[in-house]
């Protein structure tokens, strides 16, 4: 089993439970220390204020609303993140043009790679 996300604390902002369950499984299997889930913009912003995350996955549309406020909060805290979208065409605001995007559906390996690319490599004694 690939443990490339070993010890990482990931925030998943996703409002659809089947998708969330899958992301939760993939991240847990990849060794994440914790996977926190938020279903709404307010929940996500509350969690970003209170907790420390190494990286986040952000579905750009939450209950039909654009979730840029969450992207702003993550940016303000310096938490790197990957956008997740159901759109196959470019639909991310220009100011976030440089952020990585995963388009649903995607392969597990792509998800893991997108997150590991965001995170600084860890030295062996850095664990725990």
């Amino acid at each position: 089993m690939d443990k490339s996300l070993s010890g990482r604390r990931i925030l998943v902002v996703e409002d659809e439970i089947l998708n969330l369950a899958m992301l939760d499984d993939i991240l847990t299997e990849a060794g994440c220390e914790s996977v926190a889930a938020a279903a709404t913009i307010d929940q996500a912003i509350g969690m970003i204020d209170e907790r420390v995350f190494d990286a986040a996955l952000l579905d750009i549309k939450l209950k039909g609303k654009r979730a840029y406020a969450v992207a702003d909060a993550l940016g303000a805290r310096g938490v790197p993140f990957v956008f997740v979208t159901g759109n196959s065409v470019r639909d991310i605001e220009d100011r976030y043009r440089d952020r990585p995007v995963l388009r649903k559906p995607f392969k597990e390996e792509k998800l893991i790679k997108a997150l590991t690319d965001l995170l600084p490599p860890r030295s062996p004694d850095d664990n725990q």
């Binding site: 409002d15 659809e16 089947l18 969330l20 369950a21 889930a37 209950k63 159901g86 559906p105 995607f106």
Partner: protein, 384 residues
């Protein structure tokens, strides 16, 4: 009424020879000269008398042009900028200008992007009939609002074949453009839903493989969840994806389960029908499908005696009213708490609570499972 434009040099509406396809139509015009520097009232008089002659000669044609709902103008082809020398009422109501504000103006005076080379080229191509493509041009009304127009221009020639006027009709494309925009939104939304659904299918397959090892069980787990999802989509489609009734939703979800002794006697549903927004209906559908699957396999619907009561009520509160739903099983085999959280209970307990921002509790009572769902009453049931 017809009058002479400010840029007029004395010649106007000489001949109307309408070209129809390649055939040259009959000449339907009058010849007129205008004194260059006549006083206004004389000019006006002259113009009016010409209009009368014009109408006498053209009769039905002028009446048709004046009364048609198609916006139309004539321009003077012999003048720079093709000044407008005739505008019908439809043109005026389309553009919001008064007739005297239009007459004498260059044809392009209403262009929203007059400096735009492509727009000018399109208009020019339409005048010269060098393109078969109908040009869509953005114009600006007097009040500043912009609107799209399909522009059709035909030359009017004199007896020697020289173009003396242009006849332009403008078809307002506002409605067409609005429909185009609506169609684009629908296609984007459809694309979004398809991709999201594929992702849900991916999750269903992945979890079936995680929780089951037997191929038959894997197949069954995937099929039953895909079909539950499909039925929820059917229900929402019937209601144009605006909302779904809670009662319909529960009935639809439970419909495919084979219940010995008949569903009607063994599943009782009690509660006023309330409207649910699409996403709430979908997620509750997933939840009830899992509860029913569990009941048929191990619970009150797995023997001949058990039954299920589904009931709900709304608890009003000044801040946010709550919808409290109970799924109560009784008279099934004795219940033991599962040693491992399966796909179903995970979906129900964690998933429902997460997505609906409420609390969900499954109580494995020995005389029957009771699931309690407590969520905010959906506010956006209609426009969701």
């Amino acid at each position: 009424m017809f009058s002479v434009g400010a840029h007029g040099t004395g010649r106007e509406l000489l001949f109307l020879r309408k070209r129809i396809g390649n055939k040259v139509g009959r000449t339907i015009g009058v010849s007129a000269d205008m004194p260059e520097r006549a006083d206004k009232s004389a000019q006006q008089k002259d113009a009016e008398s010409k209009v009368q002659r014009f109408q006498a000669n053209l009769g039905p044609f002028v009446v048709a042009t004046e009364t048609t709902r198609m916006a139309m103008v004539f321009t003077d082809a012999t003048e720079r900028g093709n000044p407008i020398i005739f505008a019908n009422d439809s043109f005026l109501s389309l553009t919001g200008y008064a007739r005297e504000e239009v007459l004498g103006q260059e044809f392009n005076f209403m262009l929203a992007h007059a400096a735009d080379a492509e727009t000018l080229a399109n208009v020019k191509a339409e005048f010269e009939r060098t393109s078969d493509i109908v040009s869509e041009i953005l114009y600006r009304r007097k009040d500043g609002n912009e609107f799209w127009v399909a522009l059709f221009i035909s030359p009017v020639r004199d007896e020697r074949g020289h173009v003396v006027q242009y006849f332009a009709s403008l078809v307002d494309l506002t409605k067409h453009k609005e429909e185009e925009a609506r169609a684009k939104i629908l296609i984007d939304e459809l694309n979004h839903r398809v991709k999201n659904t594929l992702s849900m299918v991916q999750s269903i397959v992945r979890q079936a493989l995680r929780f089951h090892t037997d191929p038959g069980e894997i197949r069954h787990a995937i099929e039953s969840r895909l079909l539950a999802l499909s039925r929820s989509h059917d229900l929402l489609t019937r209601e144009n994806w605006r909302s779904a009734g809670l009662r319909d939703m529960i009935n639809d979800v439970l419909e495919p389960f084979d219940v010995v002794g008949g569903r009607a006697d063994r599943i009782v549903i009690v509660g006023d029908d309330i409207r649910l927004p699409p996403q709430t209906a979908l997620v509750l559908g997933i939840g009830f499908n899992e509860l029913a699957t569990n009941a048929v396999k191990y619970g009150a619907l797995s023997n001949l005696a058990g039954s299920v009561l589904v009931e709900w009520k709304i608890e009003p509160s000044p801040e946010s009213s709550r919808l409290i739903l109970h799924w109560r099983e009784k008279d099934g085999p004795p219940v033991t708490r599962p040693s491992r959280l399966g796909f179903g209970s995970r979906m129900i307990e964690r998933g429902l609570a997460h997505e609906l921002e409420g609390t969900v509790d499954i109580d494995y009572r020995s005389n029957g499972v009771v699931c309690t769902i407590n969520i905010p009453v959906p506010q956006d049931a209609v426009d969701g």
